[in-house]
């Protein structure tokens, strides 16, 4: 199920809110159980088999967290406490390794099996060993949101192991953390330590509900009114047989806007839905296209993912504490794996590499010196340009298409005659308006957090109008999921 679908907005959401508020005075465990059931109904709507997978990984991590907490393969029924700093037993280490293997194994199989098999066959063919190629017809279907909830679950187990969090005694409470529907299929990736207290005790207040409604309204508007229009332009440019230079830049910028409004809109909706259920989630976007460096960009874009990568990958690799060369390597490796997390394709690896490379350069003495001297506006323009170019790898269907598109951007492409048709669509008034508005919102308007900090009657009316217009527009559109839905 997706947030902008008819069945979610008009049937599932009212039902979920009705159940939540009907159980407002019920025992917390009962409220959490209701959320779990809603979460599984939400997730299983795409494919009921996905529920079994999520239940399996949730059960494994819950059990292993208790093994870690008690230091025994037979976790007793006693109270659970945070582990003290210090060495861990073999049992605890083994349980952690098991959790890592299980989560990454599941993620690796469902997400990377097809990619791995295809590349293995290609490599064998390149080595003249085609006879040994597998040529399997098995194609693994990617469960929705698996990258998000496995990372979230992993962070929980790691935090329990480190002593940063207390293991959850109740399976229902833990399942609620993993499966609550606002964040389930496309984040934000929630830190357990922030949510643990809220799972055990949270309040439903008028302010939270109203602010949540504002977030949902604005998030839906970002998706329907801005992302979708920009997305049509991007789709046309990227799916054409070739485009002229101007059309290529128009399409690339359109995609940059599409992915931002699509994902930040979804995050706003997730945060808003969380508020309406009594939860407070962390911020996930902070006007990233205003960043004056790529380092700053990654403090503003998909903050929950960059935080996760920093805490669970970059820091364990040594971070910046082992010298310059190792720092650059750690940055590059983290971003390469971050790219691979987004999708099983060399496009995403290259995208990650471009970001990692520039991050490493910014950390170098020459990079840091240049950034220090650059006027902020120049830094913003340069960062945006780099991000747009990197997005080409994100959007193109494969590497040859990505390079062909880059050649078009550089004026080196050879667009076929048919591509001239596209100018009749790309520059229609509606799409020009969409992109212009998108630019204004990106660079000149406060983001959702700031704008809703003080909600006047006028702002509330704007939220309602935008939501009504978005709902009306949704009626004219068929299935159109959020981009990050597929990760």
């Amino acid at each position: 199920m997706v947030f902008r679908s008819y069945v979610f907005l008009f049937f599932f959401l009212p039902l979920a809110l009705a159940i939540t508020y009907a159980l407002a005075r019920a025992p917390q465990r009962g409220r959490n159980l209701a959320l779990v059931l809603l979460g599984y109904a939400f997730y299983g709507w795409a494919n009921p088999k996905f529920d079994a997978l999520m239940l399996g990984t949730t059960s494994v991590d819950w059990l292993l967290s208790l093994v870690i907490a008690h230091g025994s393969w037979r976790p007793c029924g006693g109270p659970v406490a945070s582990l003290a700093p210090g060495a861990r037993t073999r049992t605890q280490k083994a349980a952690l390794v098991l959790s890592l293997v299980s989560n990454l194994g599941v993620l690796g199989f469902f997400k990377y099996f097809n990619f791995g098999a295809a590349n293995a066959d290609s490599l064998l063919a390149a080595l003249g060993m085609e006879g040994h190629a597998w040529h399997t017809t098995l194609r693994v279907v990617l469960p929705l949101g698996i990258s998000f909830y496995t990372f979230q679950s992993l962070s929980y187990v790691i935090d329990v192991y480190r002593g940063d969090a207390k293991a959850m005694r109740s399976f229902v409470d833990f399942a609620c953390f993993v499966s609550m529907f606002p964040h389930l299929v496309a984040g934000p990736i929630l830190k357990f330590s922030h949510l643990a207290g809220q799972i055990e005790s949270r309040t439903l207040t008028l302010d939270k509900t109203a602010r949540g409604a504002a977030f949902v309204a604005l998030g839906l508007s970002k998706k329907v009114l801005l992302a979708n229009g920009c997305g049509k332009v991007a789709d046309l440019a990227f799916s054409a047989g070739g485009v002229g230079t101007g059309d290529a830049w128009w399409g690339a910028v359109a995609y940059a806007f599409q992915i931002y409004f699509d994902f930040s809109g979804y995050s706003d909706m997730a945060i808003g839905l969380g508020l309406m259920l009594g939860f407070v989630f962390g911020r996930n976007f902070d006007s990233p296209y205003r960043a004056a460096s790529l380092t700053e960009f990654w403090r503003r874009w998909h903050i929950s993912l960059s935080t996760w990568l920093r805490e669970y990958l970059y820091f364990p690799l040594g971070g910046s504490r082992r010298g310059a060369a190792r720092t650059y390597f750690n940055l590059l490796l983290t971003m390469l794996l971050g790219g691979l997390w987004h999708g099983a394709s060399w496009n995403f690896v290259l995208w990650g590499g471009l970001h990692g490379g520039l991050l490493a350069w910014e950390r170098s003495p020459w990079g840091a010196a240049l950034l220090h001297r650059l006027p902020r506006r120049v830094g913003q323009m340069g960062t945006f340009a780099w991000v747009v170019l990197a997005w080409v790898f994100f959007r193109a269907s494969d590497l040859p298409s990505a390079f062909a598109y880059l050649r078009s951007l550089a004026g080196l492409g050879h667009p076929p005659a048919g591509s001239a048709l596209l100018s009749g669509i790309l520059y229609q008034p509606y799409y020009m308006l969409c992109l212009a508005l998108a630019g204004v919102v990106v660079w000149a308007c406060p983001d959702t957090w700031e704008w809703t900090q003080r909600l006047t009657g006028f702002k509330a009316a704007i939220c309602v109008i935008l939501m009504a217009v978005s709902l009306a527009l949704l009626m004219t559109q068929s299935y159109n999921p959020f981009i990050y839905f597929t990760f």
Partner: protein, 452 residues
């Protein structure tokens, strides 16, 4: 950690930014602590110190509830009995819902929405004024409408490009039947099977509107073509007869000044179709593909027809919208020498396999009653089969299906041959008409014809 829920700030008349700052200072007394504040702590402080009056909060919540409850409420009151039931999700054979049953349920739920049906036309009308179509249609210049797959075929990558074909095969993973995206093996295989029966195949790939009328969408002048089309023709040369109606259609446009395609429809105009039929007849005669036989003198009348284009209908605009205006054409229904309405003849030596381009002026039956065989309101008995028959002066047989020109008509032929082994006993030439867009988007599965 401070808990704002236990000690809510007095928000009356306070500026939210001030409250937020006050909360920050209260929670973290020194700047050193503020530097180590996590984003979750920021979120707690920000979201728990929102400043707005109770009236605004209540109004916003009520309006939100109204918006999400209005549609199901209207459905309950006005749409009772319509739409799917929850029991549709399962069956005795499938007690657990499948992805297909869930998608079908969701689609049926949305399609049956009373509110949706009321909102869609005016919303689409506003979008159309801004030049936006929908998932099926593009709004062109001067009231022209174009079918989206036609534009994608013309402006898209080569349909024979290896990477494109590989992507299409990969995209079909998970479907029960893996579509075959490459048209050439299917065409050559079909030609070979017919040749084994002493029958010659002639393929007739009809161009699409954006290719011949790009000025309907942009400043570009035509004609345009998909990058793989020339390669397609080259690969079929010497292996198969190909009649490309492009020259006939453009010559007719120069002669009459009339555009070859309907204004708000995917299909060709009667003059373009008739010119194609005449040229095809000339081609078959020039290639000496048919045995000589006495010419039958068919007659043609004239009939004025006015209709709304299929692309205009796809937009689901409100009645009275300018784009829903009818276009008037003159069709020429064909009658037998004895005055009877033209009908396909199973003993004819020419068999036409055709899609909606063959059928658009042929069938008077409505689409609602006859489905894939039905007409589209542009009159009847004046279609491609009729016109070819008229131009050749001999009867014709036909197997028509409005969609799926890449495989449906071949499948129908195979089924007919399975029940009647003598189905093709009279046939010397099969003309296989399909739309060029099918070259990029069709399923070109290999189909085995029954019998020796």
């Amino acid at each position: 950690m401070p808990s704002p829920d236990n000690d809510p700030p007095d928000t009356a008349g306070a500026d939210a930014a001030d409250l937020y700052e006050q909360a920050l200072h209260r929670s973290l007394p020194t700047s050193a602590h503020r530097l180590t504040r996590s984003r979750e702590q920021e979120a707690d402080l920000a979201l728990n110190t929102t400043a707005f009056g109770r009236g605004v909060a209540v109004s916003l919540c009520l309006a939100f509830a109204l918006l999400i409850l209005a549609v199901p409420a209207v459905q309950l009151l006005a749409g009772r009995g319509r739409g799917p039931a929850l029991s549709d999700l399962t069956s005795p054979a499938q007690p657990i819902p499948t992805p297909e049953s869930l998608r079908g349920f969701e689609t049926a739920l949305q399609d049956s929405s009373v509110a949706g049906r009321a909102i869609l036309p005016p919303a689409q009308a506003i979008l159309t004024r801004l030049g936006v179509g929908n998932e099926q249609a593009y709004v062109g210049r001067r009231g022209e409408l174009l079918y989206r797959p036609d534009v994608e075929y013309t402006a898209g990558p080569g349909f024979l490009d290896a990477a494109v074909l590989a992507r299409k095969r990969e995209a079909s993973v998970g479907n029960e039947r893996v579509p075959q995206p490459n048209p050439i093996p299917a065409i050559l295989d079909f030609a070979r099977q017919l040749r084994a029966r002493g029958i010659t195949l002639v393929i007739l790939p009809v161009p699409v509107k954006p290719a011949l009328e790009p000025e309907a969408l942009s400043e570009q002048r035509g004609p345009l073509q998909n990058p793989s089309y020339e390669d397609f023709l080259r690969r079929l040369r010497d292996k198969c007869y190909v009649f490309d109606p492009f020259l006939a259609m453009t010559a007719e446009e120069r002669r009459t000044g009339q555009k070859p395609f309907l204004r708000t429809d995917t299909h060709w105009t009667p003059p373009a179709m008739e010119a194609t039929a005449l040229a095809l007849a000339g081609y078959l005669e020039a290639q000496r593909l048919l045995p000589p036989r006495p010419r039958r003198v068919y007659r043609r009348g004239e009939e004025a027809v006015a209709n709304v284009g299929d692309v205009a209908r796809m937009l689901r605009l409100p009645p009275g919208n300018a784009l829903l205006g009818t276009q008037a054409v003159t069709i020429r229904p064909v009658t037998d020498p004895d005055g009877a309405t033209w009908q396909p003849r199973p003993d004819a030596d020419v068999l036409l396999l055709g899609d909606s381009f063959s059928n658009v002026y042929s069938s008077r039956d409505s689409f609602e009653t006859s489905g894939s065989l039905g007409g589209q309101g542009w009159g009847g008995h004046a279609g491609l089969a009729e016109q070819v028959s008229f131009s050749l002066g001999r009867p014709l047989d036909s197997i028509i299906n409005n969609a799926g020109g890449s495989h449906v008509t071949r499948e129908k032929l195979a089924r007919q041959m399975a029940s009647d082994p003598a189905r093709l006993s009279h046939v010397r030439v099969v003309v296989w008409e399909f739309t060029q867009r099918d070259l990029a988007s069709g399923d070109w599965r290999l189909i085995r014809l029954p019998g020796p």
